[in-house]
């Protein structure tokens, strides 16, 4: 198991950052607890990458404080970076070296050597299905393999906190499944995982808590269940025996789409009721032959939170 941090895995307080006239972060406060599987979501330009870069020491904040395992990313940068592994969004590699050389050098930057670390590097290669490519030059690897090497590089020093910045972007289904299996294993071993992804269903399945960013601010920060309860809408699809020529007046405003005999209504959570919709249709003389409901997903919550006017 991975040793515990002295304090929260990630602490961010009052973080501000601007690039020229563009404000990337406008006062971020955030705490990621030890052992969490944490989702960091938001549309492009919301500030996720800037926040990650500040945590990783790749960008310096204008104001505020960020710490990894209690270590300030500026003042205690050595300890903070030892506690953190980052899988970058872009597939970058050094074309001069083989996979094993890349991992040995990366471990060396952290002052790690010897049989124990060598065994761990070999384990990473095996787990990430790269063992037979260990002596291959990075240039010769496929995109998926290079991405797996990035993951191995991020883990070579056994960091307590692992940030995965859109690790499955452009990755095929099979590799994605194997990556998530591996990340789940890391989480089970005690690593704190922070994930950013545009595949919201992945975050919904994997994450315990989720922060949704918008315009450099945290728009929502809650457990996955609590966020799903925030969903304002749910969908009801009703199929009638005959096409509905004229919809009862109370239902007209709720109609979202009409496809043949199927009517799709968007209902307000808590105020609209499905039986009332069905009763209104029955009273208007329509025979309902099928209904289907779709509960709110993280994607609905995400869209509601990020598309709401600021």
């Amino acid at each position: 198991m991975i040793p515990d941090c002295d304090g929260a895995a990630i602490t961010v307080a009052g973080l501000h950052k601007h690039f020229g006239r563009v404000y990337a972060l406008r006062g971020i406060d955030l705490e990621v607890r030890q052992g969490e599987f944490f989702g960091l979501l938001g549309p492009n330009g919301a500030g996720k990458s800037t926040l990650i870069n500040i945590l990783a020491g790749l960008t310096r904040a204008d104001a505020g404080r960020a710490a990894i395992c209690g270590y300030d990313v500026r003042a205690d940068y050595r300890q903070a970076r030892r506690a953190l592994g980052v899988v970058p969004q872009e597939v970058v590699f050094d074309p001069f070296f083989t996979v094993r050389e890349v991992l040995a050098l990366q471990a060396g930057y952290f002052g790690l050597k010897g049989a124990a670390n060598r065994a761990w590097r070999e384990e990473l290669l095996t787990t990430l299905m790269l063992a037979d490519k260990g002596d291959a030059n990075m240039r010769t690897l496929s995109g998926g393999m290079k991405r797996r090497v990035l993951i191995a590089q991020a883990l070579v020093h056994r960091p307590r906190v692992v940030i995965l910045d859109e690790p499955t972007a452009g990755v095929d289904v099979e590799l994605r499944a194997s990556l998530w299996a591996f990340v789940r294993r890391l989480h089970a071993e005690g690593h704190t995982i922070v994930l950013t992804t545009h595949y919201l269903e992945e975050a919904e399945v994997l994450c315990d808590r989720i922060a949704i960013m918008r315009d450099g601010r945290i728009a929502a920060l809650d457990s996955k269940e609590a966020l799903l309860r925030r969903a304002v809408h749910k969908t009801l699809s009703v199929t009638t025996r005959e096409p509905v020529a004229e919809l009862p007046a109370p239902l007209q405003a709720k109609l979202h789409r009409r496809t043949g005999n199927t009517l799709e209504f968007v209902l307000q959570q808590g105020t609209d009721s499905i039986p009332e919709v069905l009763e209104a249709l029955r009273l208007a003389g329509h025979v309902v032959i099928d209904i289907a409901t779709e509960q709110a997903s993280l994607e609905h919550v995400f869209l509601e939170l990020t598309q709401r006017t600021a």
């Binding site: 990783a56 020491g57 790749l58 960008t59 310096r60 940068y77 050595r78 300890q79 970076r81 030892r82 953190l84 980052v86 970058p88 872009e90 970058v92 590699f93 050094d94 074309p95 001069f96 070296f97 050389e101 050098l105 990366q106 471990a107 060396g108 930057y109 952290f110 002052g111 790690l112 050597k113 590089q153």
Partner: protein
Amino acid sequence: MNGFSALFYKEILRFYKVSFQTVAAPVVTALLYLLVFAGTFKGRADVLPGVSYVAFLVPGLMMMSMIQNAFANSSSSLIQSKVTGNLIFILLSPLSALEFFAAFVAAAVVRAFAVAVCVYLAVLPFVAVPVRHPLFLLFFGIFGSAALGALGVIAGVWAERFDQLAGFQNFVVVPLSFLSGVFYSLRDLPPIWRDLSRANPLLYMIDGFRYGFFGSADVAPWFSLAVTGGFFLAVSLLALTLVGRGYRLRN
């Protein structure tokens, strides 16, 4: 292995893997210069007392190769890593600014010595070039190439595109190294050019390095030693400041 030695080893491995380009090619270039200049000015009078023109050329060409290759090593490694994005792996590590700087500079010195030793060994069967003051030789070799390695760090950090770096190399480093007394003695220059040449810090590296071989030089060796050491300290301070502040690295 601590962080410094890992990065130092990586930088050595990087140029070793392409040693045909990074060591063999500059050796051939230096030998071609020797061939052309020695052939052209063969009958010329001794430049330094008792030193033939061909022998006079050898230390200058060695040092010019060291200067150019030390600069090329750190600057090209940095710009390649920046442009391809793989510098992130170093920036994510707990390496300090001093370790980062020292590893790049030390690797630049190693490459400079690899080139210089190869040039020396290649000309040895044809030209007698004795070593009178090995400690001076070592000092000017180490600190001259370290200064240019540090300048390479500055250029590599500053440049954001390959053409910016090429501009720095072609318009600053190459002219300064060519106009530093590699092919001529300071005494052969008209007064105005002599005075201008004295403002070139690379002149003192080459002249001091030559003193290490022949025991005579245009400038007093201790003065050259002070200028070379001072230049090394100045560019190192600037390079360390830039790296420490994360200038064009952590933004």
